[in-house]
């Protein structure tokens, strides 16, 4: 196997993790990962070194954006079911954070997951998303505040009394 393919292969587990959290649906996530891999293989001649992982995250993020655009234009929208969380049983903490992710816009979710789950730097995320670092930072701040108020609202016992 070529070095190029070996490097792609090494990234598959992380891509699956990011895709799963991004789509909250195991099947959709693996479909996107597969399309990402196919596209990466097809674009081997376009890859001139550099950060393979960030490149793959960029492809995946773009494919997911295209997918959502297609869904948005469909007259009958089928809600994406959170099959994954239900299947994993009585893990209410997990379910909470999954629901909380749904409160975010696609860009906020992607920024937060790339930083928190995938350990990308702000600079790398700004390249993946094609926006200035300042935009990445405000997406992150908004994402965290959204999630916090959602989680706080779900657990009234934890809400501070003023």
């Amino acid at each position: 196997m070529s070095e190029f393919r070996e490097r792609i292969e090494a990234a598959i587990p992380a891509l699956r993790r990011y895709a799963r959290a991004l789509t909250r649906d195991a099947e959709t996530a693996d479909d996107i990962v597969q399309d990402t891999l196919v596209r990466a293989l097809r674009s081997e001649h376009l890859f001139h070194g550099g950060d393979m992982r960030a490149w793959l995250y960029t492809i995946l993020t773009n494919l997911n954006r295209n997918r959502l655009r297609t869904l948005a234009r469909r007259p009958v929208v089928t809600p994406i079911k959170d099959t994954d969380a239900t299947a994993s049983g009585p893990d209410s903490g997990g379910r909470d954070i999954v629901r909380a992710l749904e409160m975010l816009t696609e860009e906020q979710r992607s920024a937060l997951l790339l930083v928190v789950l995938e350990s990308l730097t702000y600079r790398e995320v700004s390249e993946v998303q094609g926006v200035p670092i300042g935009t990445v930072m405000s997406r992150l701040a908004r994402a965290r505040n959204e999630i916090k108020s959602y989680l706080d609202g779900e657990r009234p016992a934890l809400r501070r009394v003023k």
């Binding site: 479909d31 399309d35 960029t58 903490g93 954070i97 789950l117």
Partner: protein, 258 residues
């Protein structure tokens, strides 16, 4: 005057993400010691990260299923979403055509406005295509250019955008508001797509103009009775750079009026 010791929300985030320079780190730590509300927020954000890692972290240690075998995927060359995307695109083609006709009946905007709308519809329609984004691939550029020039009725020359990191995927012929239009698709190495739509209009020449539609945006202009619309994702900082490069090349190539 900004207080040097004041800590902004963005800095708190950067602190959590280890993105602060060392000197600011200690200032933030001192701040958190005296601002329990902010300290509680930082703790909550860290807990969010913890929950996310607990929820999704296991995937990093799972053996990927056999469908991700790269040698097999390299032979197949297309993915699971491709078929779905193709089906949806076929449906949308009908919807888009209907919508355009609908628009024409209700109001009569300028050729250029209709042209720009059509270009954005085409952009949304074809950039999601994995298997069949174009009719003629970019590798057959001479044939592609000759064919589309003939159908549009004017010599075309799609710009070279390699310097901007774009490769010509190819092109196709599309119906436009005033006749046949040419549609060229470009792609970055990470799969981000930009399209150039062009055809004849009767409006006068214009400089670069900007418009948005949904998640996408376009720059458009008219040069020698040919209208051009360069469309791409709205978020990217690249769109303007690419449009400017395309505009400059086309402008330079156009022979002076005689």
């Amino acid at each position: 005057m900004a207080d040097r010791d004041h800590v902004s929300e963005e800095e708190l985030n950067a602190y959590v993400d280890n993105e602060l320079p060392a000197d600011r780190r200690s200032i933030v730590e001192a701040w958190l010691a005296t601002h329990p509300d902010d300290a509680a927020r930082v703790a909550a954000w860290r807990q969010q990260a913890e929950l996310l890692c607990q929820r999704y972290g296991h995937l990093e240690y799972e053996t990927p299923p056999a469908r991700f075998d790269l040698d097999r995927l390299a032979r197949r060359r297309y993915g699971g979403l491709a078929a779905i995307a193709a089906t949806i695109a076929a449906f949308l083609l009908g919807a888009a055509a209907g919508w355009t006709v609908h628009g024409l009946e209700i109001q009569k905007p300028s050729d250029l406005a209709r042209f720009t709308t059509d270009a954005l519809v085409a952009y949304r329609l074809y950039t999601v295509e994995v298997r069949h984004p174009v009719e003629v691939p970019g590798e057959e550029r001479p044939h592609l250019v000759q064919w589309l020039s003939k159908r549009v009725g004017s010599p075309l020359n799609p710009p070279e955008l390699d310097k901007q990191g774009l490769k010509l995927v190819g092109g196709r012929l599309l119906p436009g508001p005033t006749g046949p239009s040419a549609f060229f698709m470009y792609e970055t190495s990470s799969g981000e797509r930009f399209t150039l739509y062009c055809g004849q209009v009767n409006d006068g020449e214009t400089a670069l103009r900007y418009t948005t539609g949904g998640q996408n945006a376009a720059y458009y202009w008219v040069d020698r009775n040919l209208a051009y619309v360069l469309s791409g994702p709205m978020e990217t900082v690249k769109l303007k750079e690419i449009a400017q490069a395309a505009y400059d090349q086309i402008d330079r190539r156009t022979p002076p009026r005689g």
